[in-house]
Amino acid sequence: MNTKKVNKLALAVIKLIAAVVVVILAFLLGKILLSGLPHVSWHFLTTPSRSFTAGGGIGIQLFNSFYLLILTLLISFPLSLGAGIYLAEYAPKNRVTEGVRMAIEVLSSLPSVVVGLFGFLLFVVQFKMGFSIISGAIALTFFNLPLLTRNVEDSLNNVPKLQREAGLALGLSKWHTVTKIILPEALPGILTGIVLCAGRVFGEAAALIYTAGQSATNIDFSNWNPFDESSPLNLFRPAETLAVHIWKINSEGIMPDAEQISAGASAVLIVAVLIFNLSARYLGNRLYKRLTASK
């Protein structure tokens, strides 16, 4: 065979492979959305789940997912901001910093089930916090920290060095320069990263099974006192999230409509992830335009 024929053949093979992948991906998305969305209704999204009979919804699980997400971000954002600032601005170039980076990389590649087990061992058992939202939020923080930290560091590093020099030349302290000049400019990148991480946290289940628990206690949405047992804001109640719910009804669910519920819940999860992705892009673009002079 001459080279021209080989070329044509090889390019055709590449196109074929790409087509196969597109078909697989389209099938996957189509399958999830088409089999799930018909089951999604206002009733499905707001009623509590039922264990033995058909007709349950995902109301409490959906609320738990969002509540857990907000708590996780509240804990992990300040931490990762501090750590990111350290790595981008203060860290000296030496072996210690190298070790710190390595530790963060290892943390980001740990299987989420191991992070969950660690949370179970330390918070649920050792600190006697039981299966609770707060244990789950801390476990998710561990899982979330490395990614957010790297994202903050990268966004800070993308700010030109000139800005730092300008700040220092004006007599501002380093900290002042970072918080008042560098951070605002890095903000779009940081926010995009946060929203993408939020999507990941929203769908995480393995780290939560043994920390936030697998039961959704009935909560009373008219009671907003965080210290009351039945309040939705209570930090120490077990909270099954949407992703855990899908896993649970597929492995041990006995309600007759388990498959429909999982299909509906999967579709809700995918739509949520889609919204997170799109809003990350939109927010990033918009903020970038607003805070810089570019069109």
């Binding site: 080989v6 070329n7 090889a10 093979v13 790409a18 992948v21 991906l25 300040p78 350290y86 943390l107």
Partner: protein, 305 residues
């Protein structure tokens, strides 16, 4: 002291702010490192207890095939043969990487070299979305699509290593693809121009120049995909059948380290042999993620030279 002297010698407001900020950022990085160390310490101490406290033998743990930590074998030691799970984990990981790599490289080449800007953007966002799909959703799809498909076309119950690898294949495909795209884009444009100017065909340029130059990046992508597959728990657990037996074929029910962990931790009591044995499995997972990490470092260091 006179007030001017005092004012000069005392740290200014800016300095105090700077010290405060520095302390805050040092504290948060310190906390992260402490968390990593604590995870290693806790899991290692629990995982090693199987061998020190419960006197199980390490060789038997790695090569034995009988997993029943609550009972003792004929030699009076607990039966902690973890080989079926270890084989299961490595099996699904390697098979998934084997299936996914050609597809990922092909797709990445199409996206960077052959497609128009518009379809490239479209595929990019689809792949981003797929990276973000939660693993339980993949597991659910595996349960409703892959398991029946394998049962009808390959035989067996449908639960097994093959189904697990299929599910992981779809899960790691977007990860490997997007990282491969990044490394192909990082190849300097003039490499390609130079090769084409020499009269090489497109394929020759791709095969002899682009792929070679992007090799370290592609290898890193594959290792990352394997690390993700190795640590994936729920999606695999849902389709693999969860039988702690040495798999006879790709179609017989098997189990992985992660699946045994997710099923078992809730059903065992803290401090018992059965529980400690599970922590030993977690320790293997931990060590393997360290190995994947080192592999990535090694590849990127070699690629730099």
């Amino acid at each position: 002291m006179d007030p001017i002297r005092e004012k000069i010698l005392k740290p200014s407001k800016e300095t105090r702010q700077d010290i405060l900020g520095k302390t805050l950022s040092y504290a948060s990085i310190f906390l992260i490192v402490a968390v990593v160390l604590a995870i290693f310490l806790f899991v290692a101490s629990k995982g090693i207890a199987t061998f020190t406290e419960n006197k199980a033998s390490l060789v038997e743990f790695l090569t034995g095939t009988e997993w029943n930590p609550g009972a003792n074998g004929p030699n009076g030691k607990p039966l902690v043969g973890a080989l079926p799970m270890i084989l299961g984990s490595f099996g699904v990981t390697f098979l998934a990487a084997l299936f996914a790599t050609p597809f990922a490289i092909g797709t990445a080449l199409y996206m960077t070299e052959l497609s128009s800007k518009r379809s490239q953007k479209f595929m990019q966002s689809v792949i981003e979305l797929l990276v973000g799909i939660p693993s339980v959703v993949y597991g659910f799809i595996g349960l409703t699509v892959v398991v029946p498909f394998v049962r009808d076309h390959f035989g067996g119950s449908g639960y097994g290593i093959l189904s697990g690898s299929f599910v992981l294949f779809v899960m790691v495909l977007p990860t490997i693809t997007s990282m491969t795209v990044d490394s192909l884009r990082a190849v300097p444009k003039y490499y390609k121009s130079a090769s084409l100017a020499l009269g090489a065909t497109e394929w020759q340029t791709i095969y002899r120049v682009l792929l070679r130059a992007a090799m370290p990046g592609i290898m890193t992508a594959i290792v990352f995909g394997m690390a993700r597959a190795f640590g994936e728990a729920l999606a695999v657990q849902m389709v693999i059948g969860n039988a702690t037996l040495l798999p006879e074929s790709l179609l017989s029910p098997a189990s992985t380290l992660t699946s045994v962990l997710t099923m078992g931790i809730g059903n065992t009591v803290m401090g018992t042999v059965s529980n400690n044995a599970l922590w030993s499995l977690a320790l293997i997972l931990l060590l393997m993620s360290l190995v994947f990490n080192l592999a990535v470092r090694f590849i990127s260091r070699k690629g730099k030279m």
